[in-house]
């Protein structure tokens, strides 16, 4: 049997209470996979695809107190999660909104100010909720959960460190076993095999691309062979003890050209400098501004990255958690936040990207994904 975790080890209750008070909430209803998992310790991946199979966690009186799950999930919720008050509904017969409304009425919250995740809550369920509880005031509270999740507990940090390091060790080993002429798929299979050997529960995401395939975002490993002189890019992660990893690595087949060495050196210098910047008090958008200005100064086209982001926090399940490193984010770093920092740029025929997980401490940044793999130089597939 897996050890049943406790709420205090994985939920930052102090920050949750602070953020609920700041938003003047009487109750917080989490229904997204990341929100409900974080608050309850219970996750069922089918919920991502079966949206009628809603898991709802309700926080009131200062902590997550009630979980509402499909009847078929009750056993999993009780064995994996830390919430004792588990209520169920019968899928396709009773809407999950019904036990939620019952609970809010029972707890005297039907006229209260209730926070909901508007970036997850669907139109269909919301309309049902409004009809059922016309006197409640529902307010967007995505930020309340995101800000709570962003400050990690000691146990979360250790699980994230372990996931990152085991993943990196596994990939380093898999890449050492790979050679020119191997296919992308063979490299990807070795990576999967190596992290499963090290105890991973599952692969969270896996891109292995070579040559021009690197320019296709999130390219799936194919039967294309690794050819001499090509860049190999991987963006990958696996789940260990319920926490996931997200790393990016670059290699070259046989021998790098001077141009590839130069571009990798620029990428690595920007990456290292961003890691140095990760200290309390810095605004997240400063990372983005720095990477952009460095690329511009060195004549590198940064426009691809400008479409999206160059970093994010992470936690118990795959997904980019706040704070997200984009050009407009004014969130301020605090100690015990983590960031997967991933500067990137695209040339006409190759993609350059490095990603490592960093912990913000009181004084300095600590690379949680640091292993024996020295990424100072491009990895060479020999």
């Amino acid at each position: 049997m897996a050890e049943r975790p406790t709420m205090e080890r994985f939920v930052n209750l102090g920050v949750l209470q602070r953020e609920m008070t700041r938003a003047s909430l009487d109750a917080l209803v989490a229904s997204s996979p990341e929100g409900s998992y974080y608050l309850s310790g219970f996750l069922d991946d089918t919920y991502l695809f079966l949206r009628d199979r809603l898991t709802i966690v309700v926080a009131y009186e200062g902590r997550p107190r009630t979980a509402i799950v499909s009847g078929i999930m009750e056993s999993a919720a009780r064995s994996m999660g830390w919430i004792d008050d588990v209520r169920t509904y019968k899928e396709h017969a009773v809407s999950p909104v019904s036990p939620l409304a019952d609970l809010l009425e029972e707890k005297g919250l039907a006229k209260g100010r209730i926070g909901v995740e508007v970036k997850w809550w669907t139109v269909a369920f919301y309309q049902e909720l409004l009809q059922r509880l016309p006197n409640a005031t529902f307010v967007p509270a995505d930020d309340v959960i995101q800000r709570t999740q962003s400050v990690k507990t000691v146990d979360e940090i250790e699980r994230l460190r372990k996931a990152a390091q085991l993943t990196d060790e596994a990939v380093f080993e898999a890449w050492k076993q790979s050679h020119p002429g191997d296919t992308e798929k063979e490299v990807a299979d070795r990576m999967t095999d190596e992290w499963m050997k090290r105890g991973a529960e599952a692969t969270s995401h896996l891109t292995v691309a070579s040559g021009r395939n690197t320019t296709i975002t999130h390219h799936k490993a194919s039967s294309k062979k690794l050819e001499a002189g090509e860049i190999v890019h991987s963006d990958h992660g696996a789940i260990f003890d319920g926490f996931w990893s997200d790393l990016g690595r670059l290699g070259v087949v046989a021998r790098p050209s001077q141009h590839q060495r130069d571009l990798y050196k620029i990428l690595r210098e920007i990456h290292r400098a961003m890691i140095e910047m990760a200290r309390p008090g810095i605004e997240v958008r400063e990372f983005f501004a720095f990477a952009k200005s460095e690329c511009n100064r060195r004549g590198i086209d940064f426009s691809f990255a400008e479409n999206s982001e160059i970093g994010h926090s992470m936690g118990q399940r795959p997904g980019h958690e706040a704070p997200i490193v984009h050009a407009y984010n004014r969130a301020v770093l605090e100690p015990n936040m983590v960031l997967a920092l991933e500067p990137m740029f695209m040339t006409s025929d190759e993609f350059y990207h490095l990603e490592d997980l960093v912990l913000v401490t009181e004084n300095t940044a600590q690379i949680l994904s640091k292993t024996g793999w020295d990424t100072e130089e491009l990895f060479v597939f020999e």
């Binding site: 049997m1 897996a2 990341e34 069922d44 991946d45 089918t46 991502l48 695809f49 949206r51 009628d52 999930m73 056993s75 999993a76 994996m80 909901v116 508007v118 970036k119 997850w120 809550w121 669907t122 139109v123 269909a124 919301y126 967007p140 995505d142 798929k185 299979d189 095999d193 499963m196 050997k197 105890g199 529960e201 599952a202 692969t203 995401h205 896996l206 320019t215 296709i216 975002t217 999130h218 390219h219 799936k220 490993a221 194919s222 039967s223 294309k224 691809f304 400008e306 479409n307 999206s308 982001e309 399940r317 795959p318 997904g319 980019h320 997200i324 984009h326 050009a327 407009y328 984010n329």
Partner: protein, 229 residues
């Protein structure tokens, strides 16, 4: 390279038109991962986790005509999908809803009946859409897409058959290699690491765990008499 399918081989256009006509829709806006993949051939798994990175497929003039993706997904959409009209937005700067509203205005569709997936469309995006297009009529149309998808093309049936058979063969091979005393996790690793599969879902549990649904393989050791599932 992965097999690139064509719209005709996957999308049951005849049923799609029938269902849209039945629901009296002028336009259908698909935004769930399963529907956008079905209608466009483009899938990016990060979209399941990053809800601001919306992919939208708009069906107008009787077929999936336009796809809207994040700028970083444009190469993927062009390389793997079959829709030529690819429009992009800049994440965190421009909302995908803005690009959708522009398209509906450009195509003269804002006064028609527009079907949306109410079981996927989030409250935040819906409120933005209604604010941007106050005169449009949005109708829940989850069923339109579901009914279309429910009738498979020969190509879909062929791929489903291949996936099911290869999976079953892999699991049978893995189970024959497993013995009393192995852990659930060992069983799972063997099955996952082989063959041409891209990504698994996997529940492997011995008797003691049988009543946990779904359960990820753990270190519980199989004992004689346990019934693996």
């Amino acid at each position: 390279m992965a097999v690139r399918l064509s719209m005709k081989s996957v999308v049951n256009l005849e049923i799609l038109r029938r269902e849209m006509a039945r629901a009296n829709l002028d336009t259908l806006v698909a935004s769930s991962p399963e529907s956008t993949f079905y209608l466009s051939g483009v899938v990016d798994n990060t979209y399941v986790f990053l809800r601001d990175r919306l992919i939208i497929v708009v069906v107008h003039d009787g077929r999936p005509g336009t796809i809207i993706v994040s700028g970083i997904m444009e190469p993927l959409a062009r390389a793997t999908g079959w829709i030529e009209d690819v429009r992009t937005y800049k994440e965190h700067a421009v909302s995908p809803v803005s690009t959708l509203a522009d398209l509906l205005e450009e195509k003269g569709l804002v006064k028609g009946r527009i079907g949306i997936e109410a079981k996927w469309w989030t409250l935040a995006f819906y409120q933005e859409l209604v604010t941007r297009l106050p005169n449009a009529t949005f109708i829940p149309a989850d069923d339109v897409i579901q009914r279309t998808r429910s009738i498979k093309t020969p190509e879909e049936i062929k791929h489903l058959k291949t996936a099911a058979q290869l999976t079953d063969e892999a699991v049978y091979a893995a189970w024959r290699q497993s013995h009393p005393g192995d852990t659930e996790r060992e069983d799972r690793r063997v099955a996952e690491a082989r063959g041409g599969a891209r990504q698994p879902h996997n529940v492997c549990q011995w008797a003691e765990h049988d009543n946990y649904a779904p359960h990820s393989g753990r270190k519980k050791t199989g004992a004689r008499g346990d019934r693996p599932q």
